[in-house]
Amino acid sequence: MTRGRWFAPALVLTLAVALTFLTLPVVAIFVRTSPGNLLAALDDPGVLDALWLSVRTTLVALAIIVVVGTPAAYLLATRTFRGHALAVTLVELPLVLPPAVAGVGLLVALGPQGIVGGALADAGIRLALETAGVVVALTFVAAPFYVRGAQAAFGAVDRSWLEASRTLGASEARTFLRVAIPAAAPGMLAGLALAWGRAVGEFGATLIFAGSFRGRTQTAPLAIYERLGTDLDAALALSAVLVAVSGSLLLTAKLLGGRGVARAAR
């Protein structure tokens, strides 16, 4: 073998090691779950409750994220102002915050003894240890994924399209609805898929802020943790379902992201 011919095989080897390591847990879950086990576990009302709660809470969280995050992302993408970089950084903060820290933070902010929690309690709103608290925790951790994606998508919309819309008699709000959103839609949806993936898998912040009560705050990941010691089959079945959900969300994000890039390049 001539000198210098080792490098390319070494690259291939490292990638092979990485791929094996990264896919092994996923493969193991499906190897250990037989279809019969899966169906039996999904018959368990506790498991179904957890899945149903995950669906409801993530969808409500996503709705809140889209309604508040879309205009905010548009502002960040189309205007520069004093403190713009700071605002972008603050939006990204939950990405690097450990989920447990997020949970503790939410507790001391919105919990019964929290700095805002007292006022909320007076208004009759209880969040900690309630289903609404799950939604709050999911919104907190997942929002940056959507806002970042939507901001990048709005930023990629040709500025002259927005200006053309204005000169054609459309107000800024109409321009936002009729031109900016349709043009940025693929990127926004890709960001939304990533946010959903993050929300579905949320564990630490939910556990600390909302607890793990069956049917009320116990989402699928929390149910997996609870079953682990007592009913491994149910834990595996739930895990398999979550793998399927997360995998399809990632695929959706990839496909939409690819389309968005292709559209921006035209």
Partner: protein
């Protein structure tokens, strides 16, 4: 009548310009990139607010920074044609054209859009997506879209620059027809003097944020007010020092050598301009005395055929370009390296004090 006055910081310099466009007339704003042309257009449309400025259309005040008045772009009814046409990619051609027809009942919008497309001969493209269109078709859609809202002024940003040379001639004729027919003030931005001359009733040359000269294209070419304008209109610009000569002529000692006579008055440092097509070439040393009074010895550097004419690049103390007919080239058997005498009339030599 559209009036725009603006004073505002712009990159490294200040934009300070005022212009007026009567109804039914087209003013071409011509100048090099970064001169502030597009900025003025954006100020007229309300897409940019100058630090100080006033924009009026007829009796309506669209912007008056002194009075704190500003009308939003969507309320100005400016037909704006963007440089890259800015057609909405997520809409079809007819939806693009109908975008400005908000007050038209929904059922009528498609019909109105198709009428406009018909005027531009592209009704068959109504359901196409902009990305499938050629450059010329996109330009027509952009014009149809801008005209759909019955604009009170037309603003065109380099409307021909995105087209290839073949499409440009026909698009230019069509655009000239549209500008004639609409009867509203039109302001057109271009970096090409020829385009400005063809499309503009008047041409304003802008450089470094200031309008340096305004007039018809013929006036600018015949009497450029500065070396910049002369150069921009396509004339050759030479520099030298002027002194008075015999019988109402001015003699200019060119920088680097050579003497040129002009019928324009002037003293001290001057720029003089002459158009390439005024210069003829003769074999070196031949002094055929005639009405042409200027002779400069030069060496042929390049010979380029442009249509039925030939552009001859010449190395003299200051570089020259002569544009002569193909027949004249054949007689001279021009080739790079050959020595010739460039001659032109004193009356074709314009002088500008520096």
């Amino acid at each position: 009548m559209l009036r725009v006055e603006a004073r505002t910081a712009l990159g490294g310099f200040e934009l300070d310009a005022a212009l007026e466009v009567p109804a039914g007339s087209c003013l071409a704003l011509a100048g090099p990139s970064g001169a502030g042309k597009s900025t003025l257009l954006r100020i007229a449309a309300g897409l940019l607010r100058p630090q100080h400025g006033r924009v009026t259309c007829g009796d309506d005040v669209w912007l008056d920074t002194a009075a704190g008045r500003e009308v939003a772009p969507e309320q100005r009814a400016c037909g704006y044609v963007f440089q890259d046409y800015a057609l909405f990619g997520h809409m079809t051609v007819w939806q693009n054209v109908a975008y400005g027809l908000r007050r038209t009942p929904h059922a009528e919008r498609r019909r109105r859009a198709e009428e406009l497309l018909e005027r531009f001969g592209i009704a068959r493209l109504a359901d196409a997506r902009p990305r499938t269109l050629s450059g010329g078709e996109r330009q027509r859609v952009a014009l149809a879209r801008a005209l759909a809202l019955r604009p009170r002024v037309l603003l065109l940003d380099e409307p021909l620059s995105a087209l290839d040379a073949r499409t440009r001639a026909s698009a230019s004729r069509e655009l000239a027809r549209v500008l004639r027919d609409t009867g509203v003030p039109a302001l057109l931005v271009t970096h090409d003097f020829l385009e400005a001359a063809v499309l503009g009733d008047r041409v304003a040359v802008i450089d470094g944020g200031r309008i340096v000269q305004e007039g018809t294209a013929g006036e600018l070419a015949a009497a450029p007010g500065s070396a910049f304008v002369a150069d921009f209109t396509g004339a050759i610009v030479l520099t030298g020092v002027a002194r008075s000569g015999t019988a109402d002529t001015t003699v200019v000692d060119l920088d680097g050598g050579g003497v040129v006579t002009s019928t324009d008055p002037g003293t001290g440092p001057v720029a003089l301009s002459v158009h390439p097509w005024e210069i003829s070439l003769e074999p070196a040393g031949a002094r055929t005395e005639g009405s042409a009074q200027n002779h400069l010895d030069a060496e042929v550097v390049t010979v380029t055929h442009v249509g039925n004419r030939v552009r001859v690049g010449l190395a003299a103390p200051q570089p020259l370009v002569a544009e002569i007919t193909g027949a004249a080239v054949g007689g001279l058997q021009l080739a790079p390296g050959m020595c010739v005498t460039a001659t032109w009339k004193a009356t074709a030599t314009r002088l500008v004090s520096l």
